[in-house]
């Protein structure tokens, strides 16, 4: 089910009412929310709902198996085996086709028969997200950070519909305790939830759709037909499109969870104000960043084993982070680009410290760093968005070309500038606005929200495209 649809609005109203009615009866609530989450999931495509149940069961059984031994070596082996079991469905559904195709071409170039049949496997939506959550659950149990939960709790944790399709990637220690205890029916943060949901819908339906259709899709679809300025603005526009699209999903997910009494971690923190690529990853898809850090980078040795090993660990982490987004060489390049950028940034920082150069932080220097970082991130987005590496270079090659500027319209420029400018706005006015909204009575709140939704409905274009991160 897509968030920005009438179907979901009705679904949410029904689930909200029943969820709070069943809230004091925890077992009944869990079964109800599990059923509702599967309906939400299967609404899109019912064929692979069983996979979610399978992964949930593997995660639950694995955690039980791991917990049964206190022998550290055995525990470690069991954890590795469990992680491998959880990765198998992801490997099959997401990466088999890519792997088999590349292997077939490599074998044929050597005059040998391809070893694996070519298959195009249907990708279940949300599999990357719920697989990573399942892995974190088993590893957290193995690290004694959380205790094994019942099958029902684990299933609700993984299937809880607000985060199911595209995150945030919530940890067991964050969500399972909330699942177990009744939520406080008298303290719903409706103000923040409302702003997140309506704001998210606006970003998705109005901003993302507008820029995608007006400039991004035409330019990335046929870069040879566009001049340098159009290409440059299309690249900046794509940076806004992917931010508006993905952060919209996270905002709506967090807002919906709040309405049901649940707190999710934040997923974005003004990413285009970052002063370095490392800083960018502290602000962009924050729940994926911390997953990669805690379950990959640190287990690899982190920064504890010398500079070279640290650099290797960063590269491995970012390459896998890139591949997590999709089975394609463009994602590998994108991950490598961010990894290399962080390694170089780290090396520059160490060198400055070794030379005793104090890092100044004047407003000008910060502005320069932000400008450079934003443009580096945009350079990375070219590979992320392009159909192939060749196509990415073709787009970059067009930056110096002359040509039409028909797509560089005032509305496109204003939207990009507005969205970038919004990242620098102080938080206080928005917080005060939320507080003021919170003082309204329930009917007035509803009326104000209706006007907001109506504005989004009329300003948005025809239909709603799926969120970009649905593919991941």
């Amino acid at each position: 089910m897509l968030f920005p649809t009438t179907d979901f609005a009705i679904f949410l109203a029904v689930v909200f009412a029943l969820s709070w009615l069943l809230n004091p009866h925890r077992a009944a609530w869990k079964w109800f929310i599990l059923a509702a989450s599967y309906v939400f999931y299967a609404w899109w495509d019912p064929r692979l709902a069983w996979l979610l149940a399978l992964v949930s069961t593997i995660a639950w059984a694995s955690a039980l198996w791991v917990e049964r031994t206190d022998d550290q070596r055995r525990r470690r082996r069991r954890t590795l085996a469990s992680v491998a079991a959880l990765l198998l469905p992801l490997a099959w559904f997401k990466y088999y086709g890519f792997f088999a195709l590349n292997l077939a071409n490599a074998f044929e170039s050597l005059g040998m028969r391809p070893p694996l049949p070519l298959l195009q496997v249907l990708l279940p939506i949300g599999i990357s997200f719920y697989t990573f959550m399942a892995i974190s659950y088993v590893v957290d149990v193995s690290r004694y950070q959380i205790q094994v939960s019942r099958w029902l709790d684990v299933s609700v944790y993984l299937a809880f519909f607000p985060h199911l399709i595209a995150g945030p990637i919530v940890r067991g220690e964050e969500l399972i305790p909330q699942i177990r205890r009744p939520r406080d029916a008298g303290r719903i943060d409706v103000s923040r939830a409302s702003f997140l949901i309506v704001g998210g819908l606006f970003k998705k339906i109005v901003i993302s759709s507008l820029l995608a259709t007006q400039i991004v899709d035409p330019v990335f679809g046929a870069p040879n037909a566009h001049g340098g300025l159009e290409v440059l603005i299309a690249i900046y526009a794509y940076a806004i499109v992917i931010y508006a699209d993905f952060s919209a999903y996270s905002d709506i997910a967090i807002g919906v969870a709040l309405l049901l009494g649940f707190e999710f971690p934040a997923n974005f923190d003004r990413p285009y104000t970052a002063v370095s690529l490392r800083d960018f990853w502290r602000r962009w898809h924050m729940t994926l960043s911390r997953w990669l850090r805690d379950y990959l980078y640190i287990p690899l040795g982190g920064s504890r084993q010398g500079e070279l090993r640290t650099a290797v660990n960063i590269m491995i982490t970012m390459l896998i982070g890139g591949l997590w987004h999709g089975a394609g060489w463009t994602f590998v390049v994108w991950g490598a680009f961010h990894g290399l950028g962080q390694v170089i940034g780290r090396w520059r920082h160490r060198r400055a410290v070794a030379l005793g150069i104090m890092e100044r932080s004047s407003a000008w220097i910060v502005a320069r760093k932000r400008f450079v970082t934003f443009n580096l991130v945009c350079l990375g987005w070219v590979f992320f968005r392009a159909d192939s590496i060749g196509s990415a270079f073709e787009i970059l090659g067009r930056l110096g070309a002359s040509g039409s500027m028909a797509l560089v319209t005032p509305i496109v420029l204003l939207t990009i500038a507005g969205m970038l400018g919004a990242q620098y706005l102080p938080r206080d006015p928005a917080a005060r606005l939320q507080e003021a909204f919170g003082t309204l009575g329930p009917v007035l709140k509803g009326a104000a929200l209706a006007l907001g939704l109506f504005a989004v409905t009329t300003l948005g274009g025809q239909g709603v495209t799926p969120f970009i991160y649905f593919r991941f």
Partner: protein, 379 residues
């Protein structure tokens, strides 16, 4: 001194956002808020929702939605809310009375006016009476006349940087992928391509989006030299006639009506001297759709080949597996295996659209003769 990656990230842990100081509400109050919000929004947006519901495929869901929405629209009218909604739509430059799929709006095309006026090769069939300048009433009369038989088409004219070839790509979501592919294979120095595909459109549901009107607008405003048409993948549904009656898919009336719509769509372009390449529906993964798609492909083939300004290109057989089944992989010109079909089993990957674009341009060359300088590959 140096902060490790983990320390830095721990310091800015992906934590729950700071709660605001806004007063909290009870579940009962929030439920009231949700109900008020959805009810008022439904009243405000009732005309839009009703239009969207009408656009759905004929069936239980559409009937139920319309049954629910009609009273809402009536209430909205009584409270003058629908009037406010229509005013907002007009203020945004939209026609509230337009079909649910909206109207075709041509993007800006940077052609000088004098070039535009002089660019047209005088079209054979309509040189005497230019349909693009005819009054609407005169055009309506003209539509009722039997179609003239166009003479043999002239080749596609040779463009120049100051007098570009005008190409339009229209149709459903398949054409939305074909458009950029055509644009990629054309030389932008001498060709202007407008990719005008609209998702969820076709010929069955002209009450949702009317491609015949769309083609008329394209011919009047853009005066294309060449149009690529690719649609039909959404057409396995009842046609809605002008009086609102549903004509079941597969019935004799449906086939006759569909054939007529296809022919009229083509005529809208060819009687102005525009060349048309009609790209057939490709083989798809779901075998249940094959019979329907083959039947409408036959209609497109017959229609396009009957007009000297039209030609049909088959996209079924080139994307078939050796055993006649569906495959997502084919070999490229260098013999390497490439993935050409999207995972949904209907659409193409960008590589696949590239192949399809080349096929369509080659078909245009075979049928009408493409100017060499207009194309960026060896035809």
């Amino acid at each position: 001194m140096t902060q490790t990656l983990e320390r830095v990230v721990v310091a800015r842990e992906a934590r729950a956002p700071e709660p605001t100081g806004a007063p909290r509400a009870s579940a009962r109050d929030v439920f009231v808020t949700i109900l008020v919000c959805l009810s008022l929004w439904a009243l405000l947006a009732a005309p839009l929702l009703e239009r969207n519901a009408r656009a759905g495929p004929v069936g239980t869901r559409r009937s139920a939605a319309l049954a629910l929405l009609r009273p809402l629209v009536a209430i909205s009218d009584t409270l003058f809310l629908s009037r406010a909604t229509r005013s907002v739509e007009r203020a945004l430059g939209r026609d509230p009375e337009a079909a649910p799929g909206g109207e075709l709006a041509l993007p800006a095309f940077d052609l000088p006016a004098e070039e535009f006026e002089s660019a047209r090769v005088p079209p054979g069939p309509s040189a005497g009476s230019d349909p693009t300048t005819a009054e609407p009433s005169a055009r309506a009369d003209e539509e009722d006349q039997p179609a003239e038989v166009p003479p043999a088409p002239s080749p596609i004219r040779t463009p120049s940087p100051s007098n570009k070839l005008r190409v339009a790509v229209i149709g459903d979501s398949l054409s939305q992928g074909l458009g950029p592919a055509i644009e990629r294979w054309m030389n932008p120095g001498v060709v202007r391509v407008l990719s005008l595909g609209r998702p969820s459109t076709g010929l069955s549901r002209e009450d949702y989006f009317n491609w015949r009107s769309g083609m008329r607008l394209i011919v009047e405003e853009f005066r294309p030299d060449l149009v690529f048409v690719m649609l039909g993948s959404n057409d396995a549904q009842a046609q809605i006639s002008r009086d609102g009656a549903a004509i079941p898919v597969g019935s004799a009336d449906w086939v006759e009506g569909y054939r007529e719509r296809a022919a009229e769509l083509l005529r809208e372009a060819t009687r102005a001297g525009t060349h048309v390449v009609w790209v057939g529906i490709p083989i798809v993964k779901e075998r249940e759709r094959w019979n329907f798609y083959r039947r409408v492909n036959d209609i497109y083939r017959d229609t396009a080949n009957a007009d000297p300004f039209g030609t049909f290109v088959d996209s079924w057989e080139p994307f078939e597996a050796r055993d006649g089944g569906y495959t997502a992989f084919v070999r490229n010109e260098r013999g390497g295996l490439v993935e050409v079909r999207a995972p949904d089993g209907v659409h193409f990957t960008s590589t696949g659209y590239g192949f399809l674009g080349k096929m369509a341009i080659r078909a245009a060359d075979e049928a009408f003769g493409m100017p060499k300088k207009a194309v960026s590959f060896h035809v």
